[in-house]
């Protein structure tokens, strides 16, 4: 599945200072529909190169990290349960560093 992932507000530093990643994510075994929960664990394994605790806490993002799915706050689409589809754009912005 082709997706565009964007990291901002300092989070890009955790993935080699690259802000925009065009990636191809395969469905995990036994999963029919990809959701944010799967995607987060994929990101953690495949994109985050250092200090994963700055990005995630437990199985979700750290409080203070905004998540937008196609320009819409993921709080409106069910957070971890948000279904992800082909060509979706997902943006992660940390609000924890600097004003």
């Amino acid at each position: 599945m082709q997706l565009t992932l964007e990291f901002g507000g300092g989070l890009e530093l955790l993935c080699e200072s690259v802000k925009i990643h065009k990636v191809n994510v395969d469905l995990p075994d036994g999963v029919d529909n990809l959701n944010m929960k799967h995607l987060l664990s994929w990101v953690r394994t495949n994109l985050i190169k250092e200090r994963p605790e700055m990005f995630m806490k437990g199985d979700t993002v750290r409080p203070g990290v905004l998540v937008l799915v196609n320009d819409c706050d993921w709080e409106l689409s069910g957070q971890l349960d948000t279904a992800i589809e082909e060509k979706d754009v997902i943006v992660f912005i940390s609000t924890l560093h600097g004003g």
């Binding site: 750290r62 409080p63 203070g64 937008l68 799915v69 196609n70 320009d71 819409c72 706050d73 709080e75 409106l76 689409s77 948000t82 279904a83 589809e85 060509k87 979706d88 754009v89 609000t95 924890l96 560093h97 600097g98 004003g99």
Partner: protein, 428 residues
Amino acid sequence: MEAIEAKSKKAGGARLCCICNQRRPVLKRPKTLEQICRECFYEVFEEEIHQVIVGNRLFKSGERVAIGASGGKDSTVLAYVLSELNRRHNYGLDLFLLSIDEGITGYRDDSLETVKRNEVQYGLPLKIVSYKDLYGWTMDEIVKMIGLKNNCTFCGVFRRQALDRGAALLKVDKIVTGHNADDIAETVLLNILRGDIARLSRCTSITTGEDGPIPRCIYSPNAYRGFAREFIKDLERLRPRAILDIIKSGEDFRIATTTKMPEQGTCERCGYISSQKWCKACVLLEGLNRGLPKMGIGRSRGGGVNGDHKKETKAGSTRCGWNMYVTQMWVCVLVRSLVMCMSNEIYRDTCLDSKSSNRLTLMANGFISATKLRERSGQGVRCCRVVLRHVWDLASELPIDKSEVPNPPAMPQRLVSLVLVITLLDRG
């Protein structure tokens, strides 16, 4: 674009913006929990700021106003909103951007670029003032002189004054700075932890003589601050309004009239606001210029430029009011956080996990040590500690795992009455 629109419908569901009922919502406002669209968010956000400006009579027509611009998101939003409102509502303000260059190689390059972009985008003239202009030293030069240890003292003290001094250079009537609610809430908590009520009352007031929330610095990943921030974000997750409530608590704390506050005078050397004979920047500069960079760092007992002055302040202050008042505030915050987390549906859905409750304990301990530092009247402090211990025992009795207790406990009520007891103690 159409593809995104179509797809977002799945994400946003069939619901529409609570305000215009036309467009799809893109965010949930923590303040009101309303789901609103981009356009309506801008509209209500800008309108609320306009109301605050008008309601507090922040500006007069014809004033020269400097916007403190760091290149970060807060000041960029401020620059946009203020220039927009100035145009829309004819405030008649003469606005410009004021930036501080600390002179740390590589640190400000990006942000100064952003500020220069703001200058073009919003058509606001930009003035960059450097530490070198203001103090004769860049941060790099200071670090070379004193090493990496303690340089935060210099940077922090210099920065706090830099905007005011820069503004004086530009002959402006007012300076505005942009802060977000998270930062203010964090500052409220930090000032409570430090037991600094003088600053607490200043940090939430809308206009001030000096001092904003403490700026962050690349050299100092301040442990205390990070921890307060995480605590706040955790609370927000339990209850989105928590952040605004903490700020409200900060605004509501009024200093008891019996309590003598450190007096604010002016520095004999430069005329800047100072509670001492010389302001901190002047003390630090004196040290640098005399080749004694350690001067003014850490606790100085007697001697030094400000030695005598300190004794006077001490003799003049009241004995007990302080500690009691701080305890009162602290208990209020504890109670508020607890009530917040325990109250009805929030309690049933998401209970405090053990980590958050550990944090509360840590904060209570932090407070106790802060009180220790302020130990002036043994009796008062012992009282405080006993009461606080008590509050804490009560709080720790509260079940933290939601599987254990199905109904919201009646505890908060008892905690609230404790606050009353403490208030009475303070009077007695």
